[in-house]
């Protein structure tokens, strides 16, 4: 079975079982997270606070189901943790909680926080002259938040060349408050900007491999063009599915498409 189809199936299953979650927002992240954890980020899953790690924050916390299945895949959390999502005593809820989940650096959910925390980490590493890289994943809906653009301004001014923002541009905000020409906006703030098909692992990997992380330099942003709900035909691009939990029949149909 295709590994990303398998991740999407597991995302749907934990959301179906727990009765809570954001399938489309998680599905648009699958390939990005696969490449980050599979090829790019340095980490030790059995020692999440390893000082040599790269820092990753999922700022659009409602996409956390995708992060959870990846964290399980790489051994930060267990299958049992996944099965218990949303249940009393579980470490996994509807948003990532740094106080409970190994490998989660910041408790996100309120949009526009994780990106700023990540910038603070990047500044701290720069002061300490450490080479760890800092990556944060935000949403295009999240990009309605003022703190995103305050961060764009401040990180460029502080020359945080160790800082990478990935925008999951899944069209979430297009029907409400569009953020057109995202790439030009970031470029105008002084960032190094890349566009990529956010569902092409090959292309994402290619861009990541050529980025130069320096303590003093331009911060970088990758605008990942994605599809909300990618992978399941009746969820793709349907805003009604934003926080909808599938019923039994719908879950069966998701399974059929992904198996």
């Amino acid at each position: 079975m295709d590994k990303n189809k398998n991740l999407r199936l597991r995302i749907a299953e934990i959301i179906y079982k727990s009765g809570e979650g954001h399938i489309p927002s998680a599905y648009s992240l699958v390939e990005i997270l696969s490449v980050l954890y599979g090829e790019f980020l340095k980490f030790q899953s059995k020692r999440p606070d390893w000082p040599g790690r790269d820092y990753f924050i999922l700022s659009k916390g409602h996409g956390c189901a995708a992060l959870y299945v990846i964290l399980e895949q790489y051994g930060f959390i267990t299958k049992k943790d996944l099965r218990g999502k949303g249940q009393p005593g579980s470490i996994l809820g509807g948003h990532p909680d740094a106080s409970r989940i190994p490998g989660v650096e910041a408790s996100t959910g309120s949009l526009g926080h994780g990106i700023v925390t990540a910038m603070g980490i990047a500044l701290g590493l720069k002061i300490k002259r450490k080479q760890n890289r800092v990556v944060v994943l935000i949403g295009d809906g999240e990009s309605n938040e003022g703190t995103v653009w305050e961060t764009a301004l401040v990180a460029a001014n502080l020359k945080l060349g160790n800082f990478l923002v990935i925008v999951d541009e899944n069209g979430s905000t297009a029907r409400v408050l569009p953020v057109p020409e995202m790439d030009k906006k970031w470029a105008s703030f002084g960032w190094e900007v890349y566009n990529v098909d956010g569902h092409s692992e090959k292309n994402i990997g290619k861009i990541l491999s050529k980025l130069k992380f320096k303590l003093n330099g331009k911060p970088k942003v990758i605008i990942a063009h994605t599809i909300k709900g990618k992978g399941v035909s009746f969820i793709e691009g349907d805003s009604a599915w934003h926080s909808r939990v599938p019923n039994g029949e719908e879950m069966e149909n998701i399974r059929k498409e992904l198996l």
Partner: protein, 308 residues
């Protein structure tokens, strides 16, 4: 308007910053000039970030995560009211340390109106678990209390008033979480905060003329409250007057009413002088506002005689 406590802040940053490489100061384009000695000695740990308070507060959480002791400094309403959610989520919930050092609390910016006033700060912050609230009314208090708390991994709010209370304490009296009995009395406890200690001290003689021997308690730490000291005094005097530059709700007065209610056998008559349930629409000096709001020795005597 005196800036002695703000100067103590700048001096303390220099003193601590030279000894501790983990102290980082982020400011929102205020106090830039008085912080230059620190900035020159520790250029990699001083950042005038700009005018974006939520971001300044939030990025301090990132600094805290990688081992720094961040100090965030700007005007009270822009940190405490504007960035309250950042304080709650990024520090309170995640148990990260930060030092929020503000000027412009209450009505210190007396001529600048509502946007630059902040007298709900105690109420807003007290509900954040782990939050410490310190209100130093003299330069030495800031210096000592900052050094006692800045690196403890908790969020700590330092509300720096523009005016000092001018009472001199011994160094050993200034301890985090401890109140100070400034004057011993018999039949009334006045609990005074910040610069209002001066007003309280000025009321001692006129109160004496009416037969009231007031005990004066001063609280440089608001949270945690020195409950033991307060209860001991109230058990003796049976009367309490709280004087605080804070709104009617959620200030120290509310804490003391709850303390009394939760303590079996306490029978205490209580009153308070505070800003009330209102916005200040007037302009004028700090002293003008004090007169208008009843922060005067004359009003203390009147309040005691009429209510207590």
């Amino acid at each position: 308007m005196s800036n002695l406590i703000r100067q103590a802040f700048a001096d303390t940053m220099l003193e601590v910053g030279q000894k501790d490489d983990n102290l980082v100061v982020l400011i929102g384009d205020i106090s830039h000039f008085i912080l230059q000695p620190f900035a020159k000695k520790c250029p990699e740990r001083f950042y005038n970030i700009g005018i974006c308070e939520q971001t300044i507060v939030n990025m301090a959480a990132g600094l805290s995560k990688v081992g720094f002791y961040p100090v965030v400094h700007t005007i009270s309403p822009f940190i405490i009211e504007r960035a309250l959610e950042q304080i709650k989520v990024d520090f309170g919930y995640q148990k990260l340390g930060v030092n929020l050092v503000t000027v412009g609390s209450a009505f210190d910016y007396s001529m600048l109106g509502c946007t630059h006033h902040c007298y709900d700060d105690f109420a807003l912050l007290k509900n954040i678990q782990g939050m410490e609230i310190i209100y130093p009314g003299s330069p030495i208090e800031f210096n000592l209390l900052f050094k006692q708390r800045y690196n403890n991994g908790l969020p700590t709010y330092f509300r720096l008033p523009a005016v000092t209370h001018d009472v001199i304490f011994k160094k050993e009296q200034i301890k985090f979480g401890k109140g100070i009995i400034v004057k011993v009395g018999k039949n009334l406890t006045i609990i005074a905060l910040g610069p209002q200690l001066k007003t309280a001290m000025s009321s001692v003689a006129p109160l004496k003329d009416t037969g009231i021997d007031a005990e004066i308690i001063y609280l440089p730490t608001i949270k945690p409250l020195d409950e033991k000291l307060i209860l001991k005094s109230l058990a003796k005097t049976k009367k309490c007057l709280v004087i605080e530059e804070h709104g009617k709700y959620g200030g120290v007065n509310d804490d003391i009413l709850r303390l009394i209610a939760d303590t079996p056998g306490m029978n205490v008559r209580c009153g308070s002088i505070n800003i009330g349930d209102k916005f200040i629409h007037e302009y004028g000096s700090y002293e003008d506002h004090c007169r208008g709001l009843g922060f005067t020795p004359k009003n203390i005597v009147k309040k005691v005689k009429s209510s207590l």
